[in-house]
Amino acid sequence: MTTTTFVEERGQTTISERTVERIAATALTEVGGVGGSARRVLGVAVTGEDLGRPPHVSAQIRGEAARLDVRLSVTYPASVRATTEAARRHLVHRLGELTGLAVSRVDITVTALHSDTGSRRRVQ
């Protein structure tokens, strides 16, 4: 599923959902207080909730708008609400800038709160 972003006299341009997901995941690393999210297989976390990994994004494109599903972690004591709102604003801004797509909806699941002490708990 791809979208036609603009049609010129010389041809049309389409973008894959994969491209939108990469831009979104990268943009989220630019937001303070946002960390990565564990990779899940069949609902079971198979990696630790890891601040250093990029957040997980899945995108659906309909027409000229993208809808995003995001899984990320928040660094304690940042406000979950303020962090997720900042993430939404930044996603809308960066996707508009890099792809020309509007963002119709951003659903965010906060998967963990990290204490910012530098110590990492690992799942044994």
């Binding site: 791809t2 010389r10 341009t13 990469r22």
Partner: protein
């Protein structure tokens, strides 16, 4: 199937790959962007009677517009392309952060 045998598909592929915003060619989600030549297949370029489609992996942080304009301009200038529409599909991006690359290696 291809039309316009006077167009050199390999030359299009090489010209697109040489662009700074492009890190690779991409056959699209189903491998549908391809040209079949005797005994081989060129991945990422499809030529039809009135249009050429190119699938690319871009290089972040180039914008989709920058990538597509650049590819379209270079392809349109090649011999035999004439007035065909040039469609550009941005299939993936390579993201370089802290010296590491994420994404599909072309």
């Amino acid at each position: 199937m291809t039309g316009g045998v006077e167009i050199d598909v390999d030359r299009i592929a090489a010209a697109v790959l040489a662009r700074p915003h492009v890190t690779g060619l991409h056959g699209g989600r189903f491998g549908e962007i391809a040209t079949y030549l005797p005994g081989r297949r060129v991945h990422g370029v499809r030529i039809r009677f009135d249009e050429i489609t190119v699938g690319v992996v871009g290089r972040y942080p180039a914008t989709v517009r920058e990538i597509s304009d650049d590819v379209r301009t270079v392809v349109a200038a090649l011999p035999g392309v004439g007035g065909r529409a040039v469609h550009v599909h941005v299939a993936d991006l390579i993201i370089h952060t802290h010296g590491s690359a994420e994404g599909i290696k072309p």
